[in-house]
Symmetry: C2
Amino acid sequence: MTRIAVCAPSTPITREDADRVLALAAAEFPGIELHIHPQCFATQGHFAGSDEVRLAALLECANDPAFDAVWFARGGYGACRIAEEAVARFSAAAMSKTWLGYSDAGYLLGALYRERIGHPVHAPMLACVRREGGEAAVRRTLGFLAGERSGLEPSRGRQPAVAFNLMTLAMLCGTRMMPGLAGHVVMVEEVSEHLYAIDRLFFHVTAHLGGIAGLRLGRVSDVPENDRPFGADAEEIARFWCARHAIAYLGPADIGHDGANRIVPFGLAERAEAQ
Amino acid sequence: MTRIAVCAPSTPITREDADRVLALAAAEFPGIELHIHPQCFATQGHFAGSDEVRLAALLECANDPAFDAVWFARGGYGACRIAEEAVARFSAAAMSKTWLGYSDAGYLLGALYRERIGHPVHAPMLACVRREGGEAAVRRTLGFLAGERSGLEPSRGRQPAVAFNLMTLAMLCGTRMMPGLAGHVVMVEEVSEHLYAIDRLFFHVTAHLGGIAGLRLGRVSDVPENDRPFGADAEEIARFWCARHAIAYLGPADIGHDGANRIVPFGLAERAEAQ
């Protein structure tokens, strides 16, 4: 039996979404037991409870040896406020766990990868169930935890890889949670940002990514209409800034804020195969 | 006679705004001669002309010994794409100039300050004329160039100071254009960002501002409505992240994206007095 703890370091989920995923897991994944921490439904201002409440729930999930994995329930914003302290307080029981999520959960995945704590994995979250194709997305994560490997992002090769939301990676750069990414394929995706903001984020992140093996661009979706066209699309922007910093642009990545979002275990693919 | 070159490293201005400011300068500042580079009216996609066109105009203005100052016409987005190369190609004629602007022009002010080229000054731009109180804002910049000091941000004391748009400073962090700000009072302001984005930007910038003398918060204006309240206001956010990184929070700064935006010469106040 694989036991998975679900907590929400950023924003809350609904009871309805939790019940849908519990039912799906019970029906299709008999080898998986989902434990949804009640903190997932807490609210305070923007967040799924105060920093203290979110931190306490995360520590409970991380430090309980009964759990094999911690699945972050939803993104939004907020994980960066607790990630550094959380990682500092993770016990030996956290060291063997798999950590799954993306978007705002990237602050935690980055910090965990930097500290070499368990296996951080870019993967659809519980709240993704309400997206178009959301059940397939949730099935991809649960399937991965059940040993299925068909949901992996297909471009992954022999180099270690990571995947981040572009904004999240930009904000991680230069902080105490930023992992060393030399030699890595770095995949980025973004949602709901103007193209000028995408360009600005690429200006910033590419200045911090010297030494990576190359960059892959996931989907840049729901770009708001601006008062005028930007003059370049997202791939042209990525190519421009990669060229500026002598970073290899490796092509697209099959990740994004959508139901088709694929799984990227951080690090070496062959180690992920063996997990 | 003080001769001021105006160019647009980011986005274009209108002929109408240029004419208003030319008329105001002619009527009220007989000691000032404004030279508006035709590139200010160029457009290509998001920008006031291509990177090449904007860079060429900026170099013309910067490297012409006939000009005493370069006034950036408008923010928006785009200066970061040309700032590094521009600064590398500034000649001896650039070294004594005063450089004025804010918002997106902060990339240039930061790079100039880092390279110790002339006198970077946070100040209202030509395009500010169309704001409420915009003529007063333009008058403040022209007055400063004419020797008037009443438009200076009033909190400035004996420590060196800088002022930045929060997003611009966040994007500068860790790049080759970021000036060393140890011992400085750092003033930041923001416009049109959600409070969760303000919080995220503070997470990032405060991680990069170790050793500053302290932080002052300018106005955070036109915050969009979110689907739920954030739970803290901009000052509480600033205080939270300053405390996290042991940065002194020094109180408000009289700067912002508005007509009341005051002037902050980068560096030591007494040197600004003497300029």
